[in-house]
Symmetry: C2
Subunit: 298 residues, 2 copies
């Protein structure tokens, strides 16, 4: 059997079965970040993200944007857990015939992004590679009571998002701003029950919350904020690499969040009991149970 | 200009110039690990290492050994700083047509190595990739007074090593045991002035210590421990990926270390003033100044 027959998520499951961790690990593989014991008041967060030429970006893309993206993805993961990024290490697989000026562009994008978010790039590794590969590991911190996981959603919670969705492949996937400020505003001022960043697609990532929280949900098609690049709401529901936040909070908290005017958060649905499954109320005001596919590498 | 014209070390220098870190970073890029402030008594260590099919291993290699190597390299780095490895995240770039059984082998090697050294694998990322790529980031801890860096060597220090050198490419590079126990024995019982792991070649890695400590050295060709696979002492001096430890301590400490019988450490030379440069005393008892090349990716 080939891994393409198995699919990405089955493959990840296969790995996770093998994992044994000790009591210093609060939350291992299975959320946006690993959560590690740190000090009395806070946890440490650790995440890694690899991007590969020809898969996550193309040779012809501006490498400054690619460098920024490589770090931005991990900042988005730390944000989704409610934390603050601190230190990064960067592994680069570089084609031998790559121009030094191209490497400089890549580094500039990466270091600019690090500067914007006060991240120390503290080390790295360089290897030769046929295709350009960039892997960033990012260490962060989160106050214990600010930690957000995928498994905290509760029936009756309101589902909200930052930003707009759809057509990320047309450019946003290389130009997004990780929603760190928004995430910190949320966790510092409200009780957020669950949070995830939308990297595989809105429905697929909401699916992770539902599965881990043992709940269902209803989404309102008419409420999904569409970007200019979105073809339609179907696209907005499936588009990967949006790097927006999707989060849930009680109705009471949600109404406070909506009233706060510092950032724009939009309601898109509600958490339901598990037996309800995941349903969409479409423009004709009709329910449809659905399984939409988001992005899978295999 | 292509990066192959520049060479690996010039490329790394180019990156390091761009790095700005804040006061929470005790030691950034430039040692085996980054050293981060942690608590009253200890530092945190962070390192990453990427291995690529066709460069660091071949398709025909046993993937169980490849998985073990991917993590072993980073354990060796944490050891060289005197610390203890704790948590790892693993990014995998996998060819779509890879067999599931091959991925299982890779995972088994990696998790077995993690188990042997009490390391929690706490997360990861999977991407599609033309060639197999494995990047491991490893977080560790070290007591403040046990931290070993490259820059602590002092004139008069004795230079010592673990193990034997030469011909690693014939198999050891896939089957080495990271010298964690030996490193912890050393830092817990003796004052080690500087330490590095031999990944690029004995002379080249000693060169890192000399450069960062602003000292010179003399090596005795007849003292270099040769492995069975070593072609000759020249090979032993240049062979990369040996993953043995090279360290320095005062003459007094060195004699205590030699007398200790728990592990075998061998004297290979002495630290000299910077102006002395790096010289080898060959089998004919003659000095030769030399510049031997170790491994460079570009």
């Amino acid at each position: 059997m080939r891994i393409s027959d198995l699919g990405e998520f089955e493959l990840i499951k296969r790995f996770k079965k093998k994992i044994r961790t000790n009591s210093s690990v609060v939350e291992g593989s299975g959320d946006d970040c690993a959560v590690l014991k740190f000090d009395k008041n806070s946890y440490q967060l650790l995440t890694c993200d690899m991007i590969v030429e020809g898969v996550d970006f193309y040779k012809t893309d501006n490498l400054r944007l690619v460098g920024a993206k490589a770090l931005g993805i991990s900042i988005s993961d730390i944000s989704a857990c409610g934390g603050v990024p601190k230190h990064a290490v960067v592994s680069l697989g570089l084609p031998k015939n790559m121009l030094v000026s191209q490497v400089d562009l890549l580094a500039r994008g990466l270091f600019d992004m690090a500067g914007r978010f006060d991240i120390n790039v503290v080390g790295g590794d360089i290897s030769a590679s046929g295709k350009l590969v960039i892997d960033v590991s990012l260490l962060g911190e989160v106050e214990k009571n600010n930690l957000c996981l995928r498994r905290g959603a509760k029936t009756g919670d309101i589902i909200m998002v930052t930003g707009e969705f759809g057509g990320s492949i047309k450019g946003k996937h290389l130009k997004f701003t990780p929603r760190l400020k928004e995430a910190r505003f949320l966790v510092n001022n409200f009780k957020i029950n669950s949070m995830i960043d939308v990297s595989d697609g809105l429905v697929q990532d909401l699916g992770h919350i539902l599965k881990q929280s043992l709940v269902g949900a209803v989404l309102y098609e008419s409420l999904i904020p569409l970007s200019k690049q979105a073809k339609n709401s179907q696209d907005a529901l499936c588009s990967g690499e949006e790097f927006e936040l999707l989060f849930t909070a009680t109705r009471e908290e949600a109404s406070k969040i909506i009233k706060s005017t510092k950032y724009r958060f939009k309601v898109i649905g509600e958490i339901m009991p598990e037996s309800f499954g995941l349903r969409l109320i479409n423009y004709k005001n009709r329910y449809s149970r659905f399984k939409l596919k988001g992005y899978q590498h295999f």
